[in-house]
């Protein structure tokens, strides 16, 4: 597969009154055509800042891209002017935000909002754009599309609004779709519908998706590859199977261990002690070391590089160094790794019965 997007050693800082906040500290990843990359991490880990920078949506002059490249189809987006970016935004790269109510204009009819991109990027006239907008609404599963075009956002439910936002994002057949926690504000049943919709749309259009979330269940559903971010860095990246069935980084262990499973064991939930570091003064060495019960002495001195686990799987932890003591993941995580498929069967069985 060819690479659509390559991010190389990207570093972004915010200048605030109290000093420089290093939100992203050297992130590298790539996205192939037609693939879905999920970025997971807790708030403040830099996942939203990274993706916003791909569209150059960060406020200037407060934010500064300190170094690095964002290569989109071989062109570096870092050096583009505002005018050049306007041609890319909404056309080649588009974005879906967490809260559909704040990303829609409450005073504009849905139809006009969807048509905006078509008129701007595809030089359509209003009369050409209108049927296309109705078609998009149908594509995302909104019934009575022609009638709905004339309604305002407040006349839609939360799930329907998110569908409208997706329709807007898809209007110009973008090559890359960035979804920033698109389902976090929605109910589980609606969430499942939206995820299915996004997968269907991807199958149809072949676009790539970067999916930001903190819900590992959602990641397992939608992603081909997963990048785990912590304190402005990617600490582990690999295919979905590698991250869920063979995680290497203690932070990934912690994330997996803190999700409850549905089986009958009454085990204690693993929790990651403490809270994320203050990015005003990022700690020396491995940023996760203070919360990591597996931390080695070297973790407080020197930042671990990315160690290769397989061709597609890398993790930044000294535990993978050849001189490091061999450490097994905690029992809870191991049980989960083995037990996950079992949980699945248990539920699958249930569903089989009611048919």
């Amino acid at each position: 597969m060819s690479k659509l997007l390559e991010v190389k050693d990207l570093a972004i800082s915010f200048n605030t009154f109290s000093g420089e906040v290093q939100a992203v500290r050297g992130v590298s990843f790539d996205v192939a055509k037609g693939e879905t990359l999920a970025i997971v991490g807790e708030s403040g880990s830099g996942k939203s800042v990274t993706t916003k920078s791909l569209m150059r949506l960060l406020p200037t002059p407060q934010s500064v891209i300190k170094r690095g490249q964002i290569l989109f189809e071989g062109e570096d987006l870092v050096n583009k002017t505002d005018k050049e970016m306007q041609k890319i935004r909404g056309k080649d790269i588009s974005m879906i935000f967490q809260d559909p109510m704040t990303s829609l204009n409450p005073t504009m009819k849905i139809g006009n909002q969807i048509m905006e991109g078509l008129i701007k990027h595809q030089n359509m006239s209003r009369s050409e754009a209108r049927p296309k907008a109705a078609e998009l609404l149908k594509q995302v599963g909104i019934p009575h599309a022609e009638k709905r075009l004339h309604q305002y956002p407040h006349q839609f439910s939360g799930g329907m609004r998110q569908r409208v936002v997706i329709a807007m994002a898809l209007a110009c057949n973008p090559k890359l779709l960035i979804a920033d926690e698109p389902t976090t504000a929605l109910d589980v049943t609606i969430q499942a519908q939206i995820l299915e919709l996004m997968k269907d749309v991807q199958k149809e259009t072949g676009s790539s998706i970067i999916f930001i979330t903190h819900d590992l269940g959602v990641v397992a559903n939608i992603a081909d590859r997963v990048a785990v971010m912590y304190a402005g860095k990617i600490v582990e990246i690999g295919t979905t199977e590698e991250i869920f069935y063979n995680p290497q980084h203690p932070y990934t262990w912690g994330l997996l261990g803190s999700m409850p499973t549905l089986d009958d064991t009454d085990e204690h939930l693993m929790s990651i002690p403490g809270s994320p570091p203050d990015m005003l003064n990022p700690p020396k060495g491995d940023a996760f070391a203070p919360r990591n019960s597996y931390a080695l002495k070297i973790d407080t001195e020197l930042e671990p590089p990315m160690f290769k686990v397989s061709d597609t799987h890398y993790a930044a932890t000294w535990l993978l160094h050849e001189n490091a003591p061999k450490v097994e993941p905690p029992a809870e995580v191991k049980r989960r790794m083995a037990g996950f498929s079992k949980t699945g069967e248990f539920l699958k069985g249930e569903e089989g019965e009611d048919q």
């Binding site: 499942a192 269940g217 397992a220 199977e241 999700m259 990651i272």
Partner: protein, 311 residues
């Protein structure tokens, strides 16, 4: 477990007037009991009335109809101020958003001690301070935190302050309304473990309201599923996840995202279509087997029973 009923909710209704003659029936006749020492989970999608139920029980909303009995005593209706005070000490609430439920102009000390002051639980200033410091340590914070303001804390820490405030008056029953939804994954587990630990330590009873079904399953002994102002199913948590009967429960369970790629790829989602119920038959809450209740009509009841016996 002892089967002493701590809280009895009987046919509780709460309707909201939304202008003119229109009303929203946020809760429309909900009945359940909560036993002493257990965690009762309440799940459902947004707008199903689960938060309204919690708020009506504690008296933040007046009930339109129905009864709430706490240890056999009616907690609503006309009461003297002294009786209300007595009741308020026994029941406390933890809210979803810790940043909007803590007064940003009060120090942590004053926030936590507010209940202590109102109920005159501290003899003097020294005792008050000692009690607050004790509470802070119980929820995993330091006593140095007492002089700070809420904005100086992270989300997880703020939720701990909210929990300390609830514990300050030594309640028996705590209503937790989505206490972890606003928190990060790594912090959620911390707070959930803290709630469990406090329950063991102080013998608390919880009403845990959430939409995160896997967390509810983890925490709760029994679970009630709500749909559009009605309770549609109530059962022991293992039982509910193993033998869901109501089609809405099934659809809700099939939508839970699980951190397992293989399962997720083969997932079969069940959609709930409310029109399968015959509108001519009256829907009632019926006990299908001991402790397992389902809202259904007479015909559905027979059908569900048959299905259960077949299994």
């Amino acid at each position: 477990m002892t089967v002493e009923k701590l809280l009895e909710v009987k046919d509780l209704k709460r309707h909201f007037n939304i202008g003119g003659k229109a009303t929203v029936k946020a809760i429309d006749g909900v009945t359940f009991d909560i036993y002493k020492g257990e965690t009762f989970g309440l799940v459902g999608e947004s707008g199903c009335g689960k938060s309204t139920t919690g708020r009506t029980i504690i008296g933040l909303y007046d009930a339109t109809d129905g009864e709430v009995l706490f240890k056999g005593e009616d907690v609503h209706g006309k009461k003297s101020a002294a009786e209300k005070m007595k009741f308020n000490r026994k029941m406390q609430m933890i809210f979803q958003d810790p940043s909007s439920s803590l007064n940003s102009r009060m120090t942590v000390m004053d926030i936590i001690a507010e209940g202590i002051d109102i109920h005159n639980l501290a003899e003097n200033k020294e005792a008050r301070k000692k009690r607050v410091e004790e509470l802070l340590e119980t929820v995993g914070l330091n006593k140095e935190h007492a002089t700070r303001f809420p904005h100086e804390f992270s989300g997880g820490q703020r939720q701990r302050i909210g929990i300390a405030r609830a514990l300050a008056v030594e309640p028996e029953f705590i209503i937790a309304d989505e206490p972890i939804s606003a928190l990060d994954v790594s912090i959620q587990a911390q707070v959930v473990n803290l709630l469990k630990q406090l329950q063991d330590e102080f013998g608390l009873t919880y009403l845990f309201i959430a939409h995160d079904l896997s967390m509810v399953k983890y925490l709760s002994d029994r679970i009630g599923v709500m749909y559009f102002g009605n309770m549609v199913e109530l059962a022991d948590s293992h039982e509910l996840y193993k033998n869901p009967i109501h089609p809405y429960t099934k659809s809700l369970l099939s939508a839970i995202p699980l951190p397992d790629p293989e399962y997720e790829r083969n997932r079969q989602r069940v959609e709930y279509d409310p029109s399968i119920h015959d509108p001519n038959e009256e829907q009632q809450f019926r006990e299908i087997k001991p402790g397992h209740w389902v809202r259904c009509s007479e015909t559905e009841f027979e059908q569900y029973k048959k299905d259960l016996n077949l299994n």
